[in-house]
Symmetry: C2
Subunit: 648 residues, 2 copies
């Protein structure tokens, strides 16, 4: 097995207040609820049938397939979340349930390795006939990810073996060789999963297959046309742009020629993640450059301040540079999660805080906003501005729900959040030979393998609320290695100390990481003070939507105004440029948050009666503004919400 | 024939610079082009087939019906525009062509009076089976309007007789009596047309039929359900809201119970117009109150500053109070035209400048913006903010075209504008016994019938650019009557003179009209000075979209910024509250317009590189702002446009 920094960091025990609370919710609420859901035992939720589909495919019960073509992926994502949950919180009963599901999956697998309940049950003759729309490999990819995670955590190989058999089958069916299908999936996912499978098994054929899928994508003659012709399908695809039918799936150009994020945002994120994986694993410079170009495009042109991506409902997709409407965005939870995946892989290519900054931005804002605090309801769309009446009355805002929803029939986001949060410990560190990179700040107790020896690291912090982080190191024996700690891009004036002595950050800073190379002794302490003044953030003036507005941010946390705190018509509030912004930690509000208050102004409506338009002076009255972290909105009385506040 | 103030004012000869130019364009460009279009002689335009459909229906040629179910209405609106054009500009050749079309229409009429080429040719058994969707009476209504206009102008009865026969047939088919269909049309139009037919013929049955349609609308059990059942249609209607399937057609409630404008905006405007007609003709107080309530709702809650209505693309419809997005509105040209019709009818109920103010607002802004200056291209959607790239790339802005289009296949707006502009002289005055109301200011030479005698009125003005209006009266003999001249609601400090002597306006002002009652002699002059400072107009703070923004208006003309004058990214411009606004008449720009310039500011982008978000001070640099009348936008190089400008 190949040693690599992407390899799972073992023994990271998250002790963090902020994240542990979310992990508990996933463990206690989300995973059990999702289990009930995929077993159709939630009375008022839409039927899932996901487990039942496997039973039917296994020949153990009769009945029809029910659900989306990608229904199997709900089981896969549940299993992956279970694996990560078992890693931090062993639970023999849950593990037994998972084992039973895995046995069921094995029984549903066909002799040749094929595994997909939709095609097995409903359309056996249709296998591999419509890669563009039918998600066969997407489901396979999620199950491979689950298999790798489950093996890493439990040491049990069964699901890994099942998925190796399926991957081998796919490898036998797809490729450029004669008698193979020269194609790739319409929903990228297997590409990144195959890299994980390669990393875990060391079997190069999985890496090669992933590379084949990525290299082949967007080549001419176009595979989607080839398979359309083969199945006598002459219908125009519903998404169509200057690139024709293909850009929804990022298959409009060979991936190395793609310069701008386009199409379905989740597909894009998963593909870029795999591209970064492959660039690192194969040393492919042109692929690395493509990743970097796409990264710049997304994060400098098409990303919301919350780390959300996908500016439009149509196609749940990217639109174009600087088009970032707050009230009609899509910004799917899954897309922000995908951005986290991609950022992690970019850190695998290059240790540069710009990747960790975006990862952190998405983690503290646009991903966890997708779940309410008690883990019972979910946003798929994470808007930056909500007027509930508009969501109710306007078709073009129908997708923007003013309150989180229970389990959906297309249940992609909740299990995706479950697997991300359960595995949050994997995002804190990475190691590279005798270097340890500290990407994220959250309390944990870990044992890392650095240059062949074990080093215990205890990280203590009240991040993201508190400015202080302390890392205590305990190497087996004194040894020289490097601790590279990230100085976040949002932070001015950070102070770094080793054993109480200030280290001049500029002297050791490279790409945003402070490199501390020395003989580390047991009990050595690294302390970091990350000043977190409340910042007024402006958007690039090319973002027309945010002209004249500011967003409030403190540390990595983006704030918003809610109606429950600020009354109705949030657009009538003005934040004077010289208003003092005050921060207070409110222990009992929304599980403990740092709030921001200010003496702001509000348009004085007293001279307005029933007129709609008139020449009148702009008059304001004092207004006490109260902002809360964006992720925590919509956990009290539903109402309006804005992130971008008008300035005076 | 009943004498009424709605009756056509004869002998109004428009001499006005502003409007005469538009009438010429309609006469020289639009009417001939539309004639070619409905005869399928425009090479690059979508096929119309409208005349051919009549030939087929008349049995004079073979072939299939082609086009929308309402294709006949294109011919009707063309004929109506021709009639009004002949009124101001006699043209024997054009009249001969129209006569031939009318003869063709007669030959296409069925023996029982029925007239609709779609059902005659394509679906004879389907007549009157789907009033909700099939527009049979909508087409009838437009042809009735054409018939009345053509008779009034030319004195030729043929089309009037044809349409009386059809109206009589409809009267025999529809009603509450047994063996009649208890229904009404899905697209209101015949209701207002029947009132015109009644006013012209004096035949009460047409008024009664109109009243029946209006009274029956929205009653339970619902007619749309009745006819759905009759044709075994169990499909859900595509528009659905808290009122079910009916509000798209304003058939969700009996009309007197409707308090808010809802559904398809053009349908709404035509219905409210008919309601006002009926309220006046029948003295029905409850109907009058309903009109007033709806008027307040539309003009105080759901109308754009341009006189546009219809806040959303979906259903080309109203959305809800104060929801007035600038970049995703529908604001169809036809809906603004409908608002003009309705305003004129409200003036028939009550002489109150609030109706004329709105009529004027729509006329100088949201209607004529629908046509380019040379009459060759048209907007259906009249947005208040355009970012061409967003129109190209975003599905939810696809309906907002950044440039006017040629003749559409659904060609409702161009002929609607043609008939409105050709008949603009009919909107200037109304008479009520021995009172003359001057609603609009535009140059004209007219002969009005006042209390039994002819009075010549010459109105001279360079409105809307110039503040001075002069009316010279020439009664046959000296006689006492009232000249009631409107003091526009936008105007502060108007000065009124009779024969050079100032009249104290407050002393004679009633509902916005200055009543001048006296013995009028030949050569008496009324002069009006309407100060037109450039105004910064604000929207009611409940209009979230326009928070922190102002629109510029001078007289009745609303202004906008275009990219061709102000560069790209118009949202980066700030108009300081104390910036001096300067007006200049530019003879050679856009056929002569008054422009507004100001020393404004623009966000200084020099400190922005590739970042998307950062804490940075708001810095601006001086920016010379140039605004042009909204109606004239998109007549030069296409690009961005905004009406609402950010303030500093």
């Amino acid at each position: 097995m190949k040693e690599t920094e992407i390899k799972k960091i073992e023994n990271v025990k998250v002790t963090d207040d902020f994240w542990r609370r979310r992990m508990d919710v996933i463990r206690d609420e989300v995973i059990p609820y999702q289990w009930e859901a995929i077993n159709d035992r939630i009375p008022d939720a839409p039927a899932s049938h996901a487990i039942q589909n496997f039973r039917i495919a296994a020949g153990e019960t009769s009945g029809e397939f029910f659900g989306f073509v990608f229904q199997d992926s709900d089981v896969a994502k549940w299993l992956e979340a279970v694996a990560y949950s078992l890693e931090s919180d062993p639970n023999p009963e849950l593990e037994k349930t998972a084992d039973q599901v895995i046995e069921l999956i094995e029984r549903a697998q066909q002799k040749n390795g094929y595994l997909n309940t939709y095609f097995t049950v409903k359309e056996p003759e249709g296998k591999w006939s419509n890669l563009r729309d039918r998600h066969e490999m997407y489901c396979a990819g999620h199950m491979i990810e689950a298999a790798v995670a489950y093996y890493q955590v439990t040491g049990k190989r069964k699901l890994l073996d099942i998925m190796c058999r399926f991957a081998d089958h796919i490898n036998a069916v797809f490729g450029k060789e004669e008698n193979k299908i020269p194609g790739y999936d319409g929903h990228q996912e297997i590409e990144l999963a195959l890299v994980k499978l390669y990393q875990e098994t060391g079997l190069k054929r999985y890496l090669k297959l992933s590379k084949y899928f990525i290299d082949e994508r967007g080549q001419k003659p176009h595979f989607f046309d080839y398979e359309k012709e083969a199945r006598n399908d002459d219908k125009k695809f519903w998404w169509n742009d200057e690139y024709g039918d293909y850009s929804y799936h990022q298959a409009h150009l060979p991936v190395r020629e793609q310069k701008e994020a386009i199409g379905h945002a989740v597909r894009a994120m998963y593909m870029y993640t795999a591209m970064a994986d492959l660039a690192r694993e194969t040393g492919d410079e042109s692929l690395k450059e493509a990743c970097e170009t796409l990264w710049e495009n997304v994060t400098q042109r098409q990303m919301y301040i919350t780390g959300g991506v996908g500016s439009q409902d149509f196609g749940e997709a990217f639109s174009f540079d600087y088009d970032l409407p707050n009230a009609t965005c899509y910004t799917e939870t899954c897309a922000s999660i995908g951005l986290v995946f991609w950022a992690k892989r970019m850190l695998g290519i290059e240790k540069n805080r710009k990747y960790a900054d975006v990862m952190e931005r998405a983690l503290y804002n646009g991903t966890i906003s997708g779940m309410d605090l008690d883990g019972k309801k979910f946003f798929y769309v994470n808007p930056l501005e909500v007027w509930p009446k508009a969501s109710e009355k306007r078709k073009d805002k129908e997708h923007v729900k003013p309150i989180r929803q229970k389990w959906y029939s297309c249940a992609c986001c909740p299990p995706n959040l479950a697997r991300l949060i359960s595995s949050i410990g994997h995002y804190i560190y990475s190691t590279d030979r005798n270097e340890v990179f500290v990407h994220l700040y959250m309390g944990n107790e870990s044992e890392l393998d650095i240059g062949g020896q074990k080093v215990q690291i205890v990280q203590e912090t009240k991040y993201p609320w508190d400015e202080h982080v302390k890392l205590t190191l305990t190497p087996e024996t004194s040894s020289e290695f490097t601790m590279a700690v990230r100085i976040p891009g949002w932070c001015e004036g950070a102070i770094l100390k080793v054993n109480g002595n200030i280290v001049e950050i500029p002297s050791c800073l490279k790409n945003g990481y402070a490199y501390l190379t020395r003989m580390w002794e047991k009990g050595d302490e690294i302390e970091l003070f990350l000043p977190m003044p409340i910042e007024r953030i402006r958007a690039n003036p090319k973002v027309r939507e945010n002209a004249g507005k500011v967003a409030l941010q403190r540390g990595p946390v983006v704030y918003c105004l809610e109606e429950v705190d600020n009354g109705t018509n949030l657009s009538s509030i003005r934040l004077p440029q010289d208003a003092k912004l005050q921060g207070t930690f409110e222990e009992n509000l929304l599980e403990g948050i740092y709030i921001i208050t200010a003496q702001a102004e509000q348009v004085d409506e007293t001279e307005w009666n029933e007129e709609l338009y008139k020449p009148i002076e702009h008059k304001t009255k004092p207004f006490p503004l109260k902002a809360i972290p964006y992720y925590s909105w919509c956990n009290r009385k539903p109402g309006e919400m804005i992130v971008w506040i008008a300035e005076n």
